[in-house]
Amino acid sequence: MMPNRFRLSTLAFLAPAVIGLLVFFIGPLLLNVEVSLREQGGGHGLAQYLRALGDAYYVKVWLQTIVLAACVTFFTLLFGYPFAFAIARSRGPVKGFLIFLIVTPLLINVVVRTFGWMVVLGRSGLINGTLRAFDLPTINMLGGWFAIGITLVHVMLPFMVLSIASALEGIDQALEQAALTLGAKPAAAFRYIIWPLSLDGVITGTLLVFSLSIGSFVTVMLMGNNRTMVLPVMVYQQLNLSSDWPFAAALGMVLLVTVLVISGIQLAIGRRLRRGQA
């Protein structure tokens, strides 16, 4: 009697989540798959996918999308880890301030934030203004991968930093001290103790940042140029300019499958790393 009743009530609790998932996620996804399979004549087939994957240009855009997200993830991790470390090790008002600092990008509208970077990177902006003041040649940093990358890294940092910081905070400081007394120099203590124990946070952070940045499109559209084409911008164009829904849907599915596959690979690597360093 008991186990049965328990299972029923569990199901009842899960029902809203399951229904919500079906209605708002699985349903639209299936519709999207249907749209992506439409062909010009009216039937269904793989024509849109063949068009997307059979054209060197679209394959290049697909690769660019992946490389952009991977680079953003890498640099977010590179800059985010030390920041997370500082947050995990600080106390009181300093900690509050650091968290505030890292969360601010999330409080600002994406367009405003992007324009902020334009002011910094622009030809008469902060950096070039400084260069000019020292009679150095100015650099056009806007409208390219660099500008997109820096803006994305900025907005993605909080996701990475907060994931890693919460993992780092879960590590008992006595572990590091134990490693030191056992003869580990600080670098070794980091490599053998802190890094492997923070891997969960790193994996969460990189998964979040990767899937968020592979889908980012406002930033890419504003900070990029025609060379910096990525799949989300492509989807937008196909929807709003070309009015080509089936192709847009197919590109969207390619993006989704890409994110799923790469996330799976990331998880597997993370698991391997954890085991390897144990």
């Binding site: 855009v61 969360v103 367009v111 622009g122 409208g143 919460s166 559209m221 084409m229 300019l241 070309s242």
Partner: protein, 350 residues
Amino acid sequence: MILQSEIRPARKRARFLPALAIALGALGLFAAHDAAAQKITVVASGGIWLESAKQNFAACYKERTGSDPDILVLNSGEVINRIRANKENPSIHVALLSEIDAIRAGREGLLDKLDASKAPNLKDVPEVFRKQWDDYATIQNFGAMIVMYNKDKIKEPPKDWKTLIDNTIAGKYGNRVSFPAVTMAWGPQFTWFLTTLYNGSEDEVFAKYKAMAPNIAKYWVNPVDAINMFATKEVDILVYWDGRAYDFAKQNAWAGAYIPDPGAFQSAAMLAKVKNAPEASWQYIDCVLSPKAQLGHASMIKYPVVNSKVVYPDDLKAVLTPLEKVRQPEFLKFMDKIPAWIERWNKEIQ
């Protein structure tokens, strides 16, 4: 966990009841809103456009029907997608669309033909503003893409489009020029306009786009981004909308704006009645097209309007691109080429 200790406020539970009260209140408002049956939903662009829609169109509608319309700020693509989503019971009743979306919507049967018996002011809107749309939509106001330039840097701005393009290719302005991209919402129209300068040859226009690319700071896609680039002197020459260009030049002595020869292409906001929308929608359309509201709209947004009874005061007339200077794109001729143009643009202009 920092997420718990630092961010989540301890007072959260205490705030739950007020939040619940607000939520219930909001539900009540929705219910009340449902009860007022003839409420209509219309569309405007943001900023000053929204202000004008409130002050001129919605005010007139309120005078006539006693109720306020709901005004949504949406771009053309969003509008047509929302109408497509629920054709039987549309969530938008009077649409504001781009020219091409208006043609598509008409063809897809999403719109009702405009009817002068239901919106009498239509009689005063010349046919040219409706013809290409087969009366499924009418131009509400129009503008043109002209040239803005930095007077301090550009002493002699090129008289005509071809010279501008050739000078840009020659690097006469460094790489401090910005043209709209084909992938900008009105980019295909601009491309069509350029073909009219080059014997109707798309190939030649794309060759020019490609040749200009090294000396173009950015082919712009986002209008706010574009005017920002000019305002921060990131670029010295910008191809931009006339109304905003003149306005900017008026406020900044260093900026100038002019129409290069032989004129410009017309770009317009299209007004349309959505199929299955309530009858009251006609009142709103008639309001938008009324001489008084049209003049009020033109004075606020600095773009010409379409009611032939409107008489512009002189100072306004000076900044409006005259009808004889604009060419209305032949949408029916090129709109089916747009996907190909966009693909070509993406692949060729790198």
